[in-house]
Symmetry: C2
Subunit: 208 residues, 2 copies
């Protein structure tokens, strides 16, 4: 079964974008603000290179990474309701983004533009993909114990040899799982003692 969103289609999408609607491409360096909540300027962003995080800061100043975004992911300020917390999209390393104006999408650019339809349908599928990723995060967070969260996380990301390499940091993983870092380390040790995993610094082998 062919993937709904294959490379060819995404390449076409990027080409079509500039031919049809008004888009802006921008490069961000590490830890720069890509987008914040705004009820007026409704924008959809598409990451063409690099990584980013959806970050939340509550009124006490606690910061939480709500989502990890990577190449070919979309994001938008349309996805957030106004709350007491502040939500931002922050680049994680050098990141290239295409911004699409929401109004350009809903208003048919030009009766005869052959690109518009295709763009809307690709955005539609990108939205579905994003939705899927969110459901996975909710599923992860629904796990009762830290051990269950870790196992779910590892199994999703391990390669064919059941190995997961920590390319970011344990700190980042703890933040992603919404658990305390020291507790993550402790649970990993317990899991190793139980024989569920084998851990050598940043390489983890899943044995169950």
């Amino acid at each position: 079964m062919a993937k709904t969103l294959d490379e060819t289609r995404l390449l076409q999408f990027k080409k079509n974008l500039s031919n049809c609607v008004n888009v802006k491409s921008k490069v961000f360096y590490n830890k720069e603000l890509i987008l914040s909540y705004s009820p007026i300027k409704k924008k959809i962003g598409f990451i063409t290179e690099g990584k980013a995080n959806i970050v939340k800061t509550d009124k006490e100043g606690n910061t939480t990474i709500m989502r990890d975004l990577k190449e070919n992911d979309i994001f938008s300020n349309l996805f957030f309701q106004e709350t007491e917390d502040e939500i931002y999209i922050i680049s994680n390393g050098e990141t290239k983004v295409i911004f699409i104006d929401y109004y350009n999408i809903i208003k048919n650019c030009n009766q005869n533009c052959p690109f518009h339809n295709s763009i809307v349908l690709t955005l539609f599928d990108l939205l579905i993909e994003d939705n899927k990723q969110q459901n996975e995060k909710i599923e992860l967070l629904s796990k009762r114990t830290v051990e269950d969260k870790i196992l779910f996380f590892l199994k999703q990301r391990m390669n064919k040899n059941n190995i997961f390499k920590v390319t970011t940091s344990y700190k980042a993983i703890a933040e992603y799982l919404f658990v305390d870092r020291s507790n993550l380390m402790r649970e990993l040790k317990k899991m190793e003692e139980k024989g569920l995993i084998e851990k050598h610094e940043k390489t983890i082998k899943i044995k169950s």
Copy 2:
């Protein structure tokens, strides 16, 4: 500012659906299976009446309510990746659903059909709305303590007089927050003692 998805537009959407793509309308009674994971039959559902839940069952048999769905919400088996857990959409009371075939959406039904474009754009906005709800759930789950989760939940749902009425049950709320029911009750009592809320059986007044 006019809401993106107002009543008029949703009414038009429902009308257009039957004029354009092949849809099926179906009524479900309480606790019936509306949709399960299927990689073959890709369907999008739209709830026209009633309520439903996205329910997950893991291999140990633990059941979790992942999402609450209500009138004008959409759902789809496209939103879920295959996992060890089983995910279903289950009706919660009498529920009326319109099913739309995914292929009908991505294939332009007919070059001159004036409805198709409008349907796709409404689905697009419904997807954004769903995305927003998921982000709210992730934000809720990112709260560190049960008290924080309760407060976030209550503030989102209280009326102008800061009152929230439990129309479902405390059991259902505990499931939605992914916390133990007895602990939810205990925390509510503590919060009342602290003066954060006033609780009289199924009526809660938020005082902060």
